[in-house]
Amino acid sequence: MSDWSKVTRPIPVPNEWTKPFWDAAKEGVLKLQRCQACGHFQHPPYPTCVNCVAIDLAFEPVSGKGTIYAYTIMYHTGDKRFASAVPYASIIVELDNAPGALMAANLLEAPYTEAKVGRRVEVTFERLNDDVTLPQFRLARGAS
C-alpha cells in the first residue's frame, strides 16, 4: 500500500470556471460541469459545451461511481513531494453516465497492484486544508 501520509500535494487553485467543482468537493459532493442544452457532462470544465457548443453550463452532482479508464504506476522519484508514496497508482476514472469526462485521481486504500483498466471504483474525499478537499477514488465496495 502506498504511504500517502508524508506526501505534500500541490494545492489546486480554483478559478471562475472550476470553483463550483471545488466548492462541492469541500462539502463531500462530486459535481461535474453539465450542458443544460444537451445534457453532456464534461471534465475538466470548459467555457462551452464540447458536444453542442452551448454556453449554458451548470455543475450537477454525479453518482461518484465509475471505472478505471487507464492508469500508471509511478516509480520515478523526481518529484520529492511524492517520493515517499512511490510506487503509487495514478488513475484516470470514467464516471458512470458521464462518458468522456475523464478524471485524474489516485487509487487509495488498496495496493497499487489493484489498479487495472475496467476496475470499479467510487469517489472518496481527501481533505488537504481548510479550503480545499480533493476528490479521490477507491475500489467500489459491495454491489455497484
Binding site: 506526501v7 500535494r9 500541490p10 494545492i11 489546486p12 487553485v13 480554483p14 478559478n15 472550476t18 464534461q42 471534465h43 475538466p44 470548459y46 464540447v50 479508464y69 487507464a70 492508469y71 500508471t72 504506476i73 509511478m74 516509480y75 520515478h76 523526481g78 518529484d79 511524492f82 508514496a85 510506487p87 503509487y88 495514478s90 488513475i91 484516470i92 468522456g100 475523464l102 478524471m103 485524474a104 485521481a105 489516485n106 487495472k116 483498466v117 475496467g118 488537504l128 480533493l134 479521490q136
Partner: protein
Amino acid sequence: MWEHRCKVAVSGVGFSRVTRSAEIPLAAHALEAVKGAVEDSGLAMSDIDGLATYPELPATGHAVIDGVTIVSVNCMMAMLKLPNLAWHVQVETVNIGGAVQQAVNALLAGVCRYAVVWRAMHNPKGTYQNLPGTYAQGPAQFTAPYGFGGPGQGMAVAYTRWLETHKQNREKMATLAVTQRRHAQTNPHAYFHGVPLTREDYLTSRMVAYPFCLYDCDIPVQGAVAIVLTTADRARDLRPRPAYLAGYGQRLAFEVTGRIGSLSSYMEGGRSSSRLTWERSGFSPADVDVAQIYDGFSASVIYGLESYGFCKEGEALDFIQDGRIELDGELPLNTFGGSLSTGRIHGLWHIIEGALQASGRAGARQVEDVNVSFVGASAPIVQGTTFIFVREPY
C-alpha cells in the same frame, strides 16, 4: 490529389552538437544547425529569406529566456542579420511540423524563396521538469495534486488503456527500442551513437512510470537541428538531391485542454492528420517504403502505426516483430534511431530522416529503393503532423 504536390522540397539539413544538458547557450546550438543546413544546400546565408520555428519549451515550468531556454525567430534574426529576409513565423499549436508546413505554404505563395526551419531543445542542468509548485493552477489543478507531474505519466495512462484493452504485453516493445538503437549506430549525430542496447537491457531496466521503463522514454538533451526548404525548381539547382513533399496533414480532432489519458484522442488525432496526407499525396500505407514515426515515448509509435493505417488497432506491437522494421524489412522504421536514440529533439529529426531517405542521402542506414517516405512528426494527440516525401516527382 493535391495540386501542389512535389512543388516544394527539403534541400539541406543541419545538426548541432548534442550535450546531455546545457553547457553553452541554446542559441549557439541553433546557429550551428542552421549554418549546417544552409551549407549542406550549397547556399550562402544571404540567400535565406524565410524563417520558421516552434520555440516551445521542451519541459513544463521553466522560464522563457530567449537564446537560453528557447530560440525564437527574433533571436535567429538577431544572429543571422539576413539582408533579404522576407517572411517569418513561429507556430504555437502544431509543434515543429506546423512550422515546416507554414514554410511550405509561404514558398508556394511565393513570399520567400529559401526558408530555414529549426528546432532547438533546452535541457537545464539539474531537474528536467520544473514541477508545479505549492499551488496547481490552470489545467494542472486537476492533475498535479495526484502526482501527474510530467509528460511521461500522461502518455503512460493511455498506454495501459491500450495494453489492457487489447490484452497485449509491454515486453514486446523491446523490439522497437533495440531495433531503433541498432539503427542509431550508423547515425553519428545520435546521442546514443556508440552505445548499444540489448533486449536484456530493456527487459531489466528500471520502471519510470509503468508501463514505461527507462528505455521507453527519450533522454532529455540540449541540441538543435535545421532544414532548408525551397521550391522544387530551385531545389534542383542546389547541391543535394531534393526530397519532394508529396503531401502533408495536421491533427484536426479537438481535445479538451487538461484532459489526459484518452486513447481515442490519440487515434482520432492521428487518423485526421494522416487522412489528408494520404489524400493529398495519392498514396496509401501499402505504398510506403520507409517510415519515421515520432517516439518521444515509445507508445507514440503504437498510436502512430495504428492511426495512420499501417496496421489494425491493437496490433502494433505484433506488427513491429519478426524483422519488419529493420532496414531491409517490410517497413523500415525510425531508421535514424528515433528520439529514443538521438535524444529529445522533437519531430524535426523525423522530418530530416524522412527527407534524407527520400533523397538517397541517408548513408549507411539508407534503405534500398526508397521512393515513398512517410513521417509522423509528433505524437498524434495534440500536435500531430504527417508528411510524405518522395524521390521521384509525379
